[in-house]
Amino acid sequence: MIEAVRRTVVNDMTIQVATVNGSGSQSANNILLKSFFRMGIPVGGKNLFPSNIQGLPTWYTIRVNHRGYVGRKAQLDFLVAMNPNTAKEDYHQVVPGGVIICDSEWTIDPADRRDDVAWYPVPFAQLCKDNVENAKLRRLLTNMIYVGVVAELLGIDNEILDAALRDQFASKAKVVESNRKMIELGKDFVRKNLAKKDPFRVEKMNANGNKILIDGNSASALGCVFGGCTVVAWYPITPSSSLPESVIDFLNQHRKDEATGKNRFAVVQAEDEIAALGMVIGAGWAGARAMTSTSGPGISLMSEFVGLGYFAEIPAVIFDVQRVGPSTGLPTRTAQGDVLKVVTLSHGDTKHVALFPGSVQECFEMGWRAFDLADRLQTPVFVLTDLDLGMNNWMADPFEYPDKPLDRGKVLDADAIKRLGKFERYRDVDGDAVGWRTLPGTRHPAAAYFTRGSGHNEKALYTERGDDYVHLMDRLARKHQTAAQLVPAPVESSDSGAQIGVIAYGSTDSPMAECRDQLREKGIRSSYLRIRAFPFTRAVRAFIEKFERIYVIEQNRDGQMLALLRIEYPELATRLRSVRHYDGLPIDARFMSDHVIEQEHSSKKELIHG
């Protein structure tokens, strides 16, 4: 039996909708998400979907939190169970004191009948049957009933909800109408038939200021557009596809010649990832800003071309929206499992530049900066996001317009060569280890050079000489040092009197504030360094030097960032500890803090005993 709840819980809950994919619940969930958002309550939405198209279990989780914790929280308060196949398991996910909404017609096994939650049965199927004639539409529209139910139970603002509904279906008045009707049905049912027995409520607040709600792939795509990218070559793969697909949409909207309607860009859906990167390399060589986007298997396939880009020094931007696993793995789950792989990609001695956006703002910002970096450094630049960041919706401050013009890097045109009197492609004339380049088509007899992935000297002539090779490889190593000057520095945030350091990167940032609050509650003050790029900048070493124990928290099995830090800072290696989460769900704050606390305790024990 549920205890009568007096206390109310306002603007702090995790709601999960359990459905099947292909059932159109995404619109319903978006409307809920947007409503909370516009009520000024911090919110985050995460979609947990299967690697298929229709009919398999899918969960959408909305976290509403007045303190701004919008990372994943494993504990579930509020369940909308729409999928009978997973209901049994779903029921048991809810915390005591939580809420379960399900179809009143379902027979529920007594073993699953929890009496520590508020149980709201709703005759979804029946309501729908009674109110929707078109059988095809029924499945779609059922979802709107739960929107109404949830809205009524939680007290979502009516006007805001209706505006979110209208936005969702744009201008299609008829669609809006039929959906609105279903929402009303849901609300009405609650009002007439259900007594509120749970503590959860939402109330307008003002925490979201100027913020927007956007997924990381759209943000990265915008970064590409504002980074001046003109050539996009890609091959579809989850969870990356929506990135280039968004680029296409944005380019079509914002990069056409108004007079002729023609494209100031080229997008090619390549035959595979090898060809995709090949096209990017070709375009970059010819002087365009070019990018591709992929996930794990594509990264593996791109290995050989990445080595060419590194060795022949050709700009390219590669987005890796990481997913789980070696091989095909879990295509619809999130991970940070390519970090070490990407920065050492391809055979032989290579070290690549990689950026790790930690938020959708940074997807945008590093998105455009990646093109500047690639041109400036004349090398492939990776931008590593992940499924969680890329495909889920996140709140963000409005994106800032680039603070500097496009940096095309060191390119000489015919006039410049005339002035200089000579040109040698691979000579380090400026001490930054980056040579000047010319573009094909440059009208000067000294402009041409031959690009190759085999041995070449400063004049770009073929060579097999050992000293030439060493000279080139040493310069490339120095170029990596130049890169360390140019990549985004890490971001530090410190408690006063911090006892430990915490290092994370990418989407692992999102539950970090919550995690550190949890640590603080246990008396552990921490300093947090968010790494934003490889090569590491000086600040990374400085941070590690400050603490005896630093926890490197990441979402892979093998501690890939940890490995990189150990390689780069052997003398600090023993300070580094590891917290790793790799079940494919976004890491949550409790997991992080529990593991840090546990290791802190055992380290203290060691001190006492040892």
Partner: protein
């Protein structure tokens, strides 16, 4: 054909179309092709500053270093030249893409990219220097080795041969020719025509490997190729800037006009051949295969299909020349976009 003086219409002498000295074996067919390319470029008065020389990996793929020293070149990775070329052409469509590949580079590791290049009809000249073996790795059979052909050590190729021309035609290639490295008279006009063609122009040129595939029993030896070479027609090329003179008897010739105003003139030999019919082309190649002869000439041409840049509806300005303002939308645009996510 233009009178060959010491300089061409651009004022360049032949020397200016050459590159660094070849490091291939003495007598390698590839070196002859290099020469024909230089001749064609010189005679036609090509502007070296508009060329991009593309290749993969192999002896053949080294040859772009041996011509057009004033042009940029790109020796990509093995079998992946087509994608690199596609990217470069998209970035700057004013580049004349002149690509050289080998039979291994194209028909073995590279066959996927080859097929998709053709499907896209990227405007470029694509020369396969076809010797039926991997020269650079010491003579293993490639996928174009003819069934029954013998390797130096006596091994016989029992696999089907891939006929790159037939494959290309099937995939809709818009310019498909076959030739022999030793046939300057045929190759030079074919190369010129290829440069005029608005799409992928494939030249599959049998180019004997003297070191690994020029022995008795090899179907790609000089001797065997000379013996079985059967031209479809005699070929003349009339550039757009020259007047066409009708000097053949009525009915004995076919003129094919390219969008740039130039013309290729095919003079009939012993039988009629229409290079505009896909099925006829396939039939001819099958027939040649059966007979064990090497039919050379312009096998198929289609001047109507759009090239890839056109298919992609691209602006006339090369992408690499767009201004910063054309590339980066305004501050206001960003605000508007951001607004739509509220």
């Amino acid at each position: 054909m233009a009178e060959v003086g010491t300089v061409n219409r651009l004022g360049f002498n032949r020397q200016e179309y050459t590159g660094s000295p070849s490091t291939l074996c003495n007598g390698c067919g590839h070196d002859s092709i290099t020469n024909h390319i230089i001749t064609a470029l010189y005679e036609i008065g090509a502007d070296p500053y508009t060329f991009a020389k593309m290749s993969g990996i192999g002896c053949s793929s080294k040859t772009p270093a041996y011509f057009l020293s004033k042009s940029h070149g790109f020796n990509a990775v093995h079998g992946r030249m087509p994608s690199v070329s596609t990217g470069a052409k998209l970035a700057n469509h004013e580049l004349t893409m002149l690509a050289v590949s080998g039979d291994g580079d194209t028909a073995s590791i590279g066959i996927g990219q080859f097929c998709h290049l053709i499907r896209r009809n990227v405007r470029m000249i694509y020369v396969i220097e076809n010797n039926g073996v991997y020269g650079l790795t010491k003579g293993q059979f490639s996928a174009t080795a003819d069934t029954g052909s013998k390797q130096k050590d006596g091994t016989i190729n029992e696999l089907e041969t891939i006929d790159c021309c037939e494959l290309a035609i099937t995939l809709g290639c818009t310019f498909v020719a076959r030739s022999f490295s030793g046939d300057k008279k045929q190759m030079v006009p074919l190369l010129k025509a290829a440069m005029s063609h608005d799409g992928t122009a494939l030249l599959d040129v049998i180019s004997p490997c003297v070191t690994f595939n020029d022995h008795e029993g090899s179907s790609k030896s000089y001797a065997h190729v000379r013996e079985t070479d059967t031209p479809l027609h005699e070929i003349g090329y009339v550039p757009s800037y020259e007047e066409t003179v009708a000097d053949y008897a009525e009915g004995s010739e076919t003129d094919i006009r390219f969008p740039d105003g130039s013309t290729i003139r095919l003079k009939k030999l012993d039988h009629d051949y229409n290079p505009k019919n896909k099925v006829e082309a396939v039939a001819m190649l099958e027939e040649s295969r059966k007979k064990g002869i090497l039919t050379t000439g312009l096998i198929f041409v289609d001047t109507a299909r759009k090239d890839f840049n056109a298919t992609l509806h691209m602006v006339d300005t090369p992408l690499i020349r767009l201004s910063d303002a054309e590339l980066r939308p305004s501050r206001e645009t960003l605000s508007r976009i951001v607004e739509s996510y509220r």
